[in-house]
């Protein structure tokens, strides 16, 4: 018998659903994405504060942007 996970409307679920569908190819970078996911988990588990989350999130997302820009430039070159 398989295991059924109940629907979950926490932050993580919102992140998954909304970010998955954002037209942001930057989430294709798996390493950074995984880091972002673990950041969400830390916030949800209460092991970091909301402020800490925000600070680290901005850095990560900016890095994702940077990677995306780099990929775009390479594709054009």
């Amino acid at each position: 018998m398989g295991i059924l996970m109940a629907p979950f409307h926490g932050l993580m679920a919102i992140f998954q659903e909304v970010a998955d569908r954002a037209e942001a190819e930057m989430y294709d970078d798996e390493a950074v994405r995984a880091e972002l996911v673990s950041l969400y988990q830390s916030l949800e588990a209460g092991s970091i504060t909301s402020d800490e989350f925000d600070a680290r999130e901005v850095k990560l997302v900016e890095r994702l942007e940077e990677i995306e820009r780099h990929k775009r430039e390479q594709a054009q070159a």
């Binding site: 398989g2 059924l4 629907p7 679920a13 997302v61």
Partner: protein, 257 residues
Amino acid sequence: MATAGRYLYGLIRTTEDRDFGAVGLPLLGTPTQVRTVRVGDIGAVVSEFPLKERLLPLRKNLEPHNRVIRDIMADMTIVPMAFGQVARTEAEVARALRGNQKAIDAELKRLDGKVEMTLRVLWDVPNIFEYVIGEDPELALVRDEMFGRSSPPTQGEKINLGKMFEERLAQSRRRDTDRLIGIFRQFVAEVKENDPKDEKMVAHLSFLVQRDRLKAFEEKLFQAAANFPDAYVFDYNGPWAPFSFVEIDLQLESAQA
């Protein structure tokens, strides 16, 4: 100074202008007013967004985007927009509504009373390679033959084994995905297959479900999970606004260049 840019949440049917309150994406730390830009009986749900501001998919933006859509969805049908759509001006929003009136109308009808449920099915195993081999005597034989003899496997043999593994994995995904779609077909209006983003992901499906069929759908889900092998985990979420089923593209000039 007034802000020209408009952030878009979704499209609704309304014969009057609506104000949903100060619940939008934050501007200088304060939630913006969410209201409609209306053309005839179609309203675009928007809030002000400064064009020179960079829009990043941060929690502070993703959350209000999701919340605005979810709250509206509780009362009426909304065609949700993907995160990140910004128009240069309110006039551009109105122009997009006028230019797409028929398509928007059709979309509102198609999605009326429906919600999206997502299902991710995963192999809950420590090592996916070992799991696949364990399920496949032919593959196990090739592997045992390669590693069981006195001479070490050649590079070519390893590549071949890797290819066989990938093929088996793809076959399993296909078979299980078809089985899942078959199970749910009669309970849903539409199904969409998303690419599995993880090696251990069997299937990632989005279902468009009529609200009054939700209970039947969930019952079927419980049953299906029980009928699949132990190694399968069913992770489902929803109801969401039908993000995956929106086909309309308003073709806003990309304000976020």
